[in-house]
Symmetry: C2
Subunit: 191 residues, 2 copies
DNA sequence: CGCGACGTTGATTTGCCTCAACGATTGTGG
DNA sequence: CCACAATCGTTGAGGCAAATCAACGTCGCG
């Protein structure tokens, strides 16, 4: 069973030949926890599809504080979209949380893939559309919900993440300090 | 001069026949200020390309507070991506700020257009990629900058908007109350 | 074992909100 | 074309959610 092809099949149907072609462009790899896949200043070349383990992306602000932008669990894609499409130096980190197995594809191969298998252009368009929606929803949540509401929403949306991600990263994703996150959790337990 | 075709030409090159075809799918229209183009509960059918005037999208939270999600100036597209791709009821408003002239296209026509002119699939993919980047940057700004920094960034990024958009909408976009926005502005003037 | 990263807890501070009152501007009906 | 209402922006007093700073216990790991 191929997780990537299954995922693609949810949106577009490929012939066996196209499937084989697609898989020739993606390359299997593994990374240990805490590996930095991309750091600010570098130009992003690769997009990762997670098979096992987790990756996160984050920025570091002028005060040295990390802000987690996204988590990629198995069956998710992750990259620095800004850098990869603009060909400019990345502003974010891509970092491995737990040991991961991935398929990766270079920007160049991705463009070639679009030419050879036009359905993949549709696949990625749909994927990116969903990404816009997710980003927008998160923006709305940050503007209109309290930290507590955002935490509860996160828990019900990604129950599995609670176990396997350090709490400080979840705090950062939600948009609060680790200290406040800890107090908030204690408060919720008392109910 | 056709603003829409010029915009498309920046990303993909169409033959005259394709250009003509594209324009058959977009329909010209005009709306008065304060017209509601979409409201929560409705299913979004249309994507708008602004020729003149401005449109904004916003949500209203459980306390009745508006949160501006985006402004669309001339040469920009706007819609409720969530509703239009999921075919579910919208969660946001699309509302006309100043009298606008637009080209609009239905979801159905857009899909047909992808079939007939595959280059348009690429065009919209690129557009949406840029949208992801913009959303991500706004998220980063909300997490790592003070309201004052966000305001200054907004001013330097969209100097023209300051003149033609009510301040309360700018305040909302930045993520503060109108009252606080007013005080912030006064504080900055003293420097 | 001992060090460093992680999580917890408490005291204090602060950025921004809420509520309320008041001019200024816009727009609208008589 | 004016009168009035409605909306908008401003200002002030007080309050709250979350940040900051600091101290301390715990765990995993070299």
């Amino acid at each position: 069973m191929n997780l990537l092809l299954e995922n693609i099949a949810k949106h577009v149907s490929l012939t066996p030949e196209e499937q084989e072609l697609v898989m020739r462009f993606f390359h299997y790899d593994e990374y240990k926890a805490k590996t930095i896949l991309l750091k600010p200043g570098e130009i992003a070349e690769l997009t990762y599809f997670v098979l096992d383990g987790m990756i996160r992306s984050y920025t570091v602000d002028t005060n040295g504080v990390e802000h987690v932008l996204s988590f990629a669990a198995p069956n998710w894609f992750i990259t620095d979209m800004y850098s990869i499409i603009s060909r400019k130096p990345a502003q974010q980190y891509l970092s491995v949380i737990n040991d991961v197995k991935v398929y990766k594809i270079s920007k160049e191969d991705q463009d070639t893939l679009y030419e050879k298998v036009p359905k993949m252009e549709r696949f990625f368009r749909v994927l990116i559309e969903n990404s816009v929606v997710a980003h927008q929803q998160r923006l709305i949540d940050n503007l209109s919900l309290t930290a507590e509401d955002r935490y509860e929403k996160f828990c019900s949306k990604y129950p599995a993440f609670i176990q396997c991600i350090p709490q400080k990263h979840i705090a950062s994703f939600i948009g609060v300090t680790p200290e406040f996150f800890s107090k908030m959790k204690a408060r919720l337990l008392k109910k």
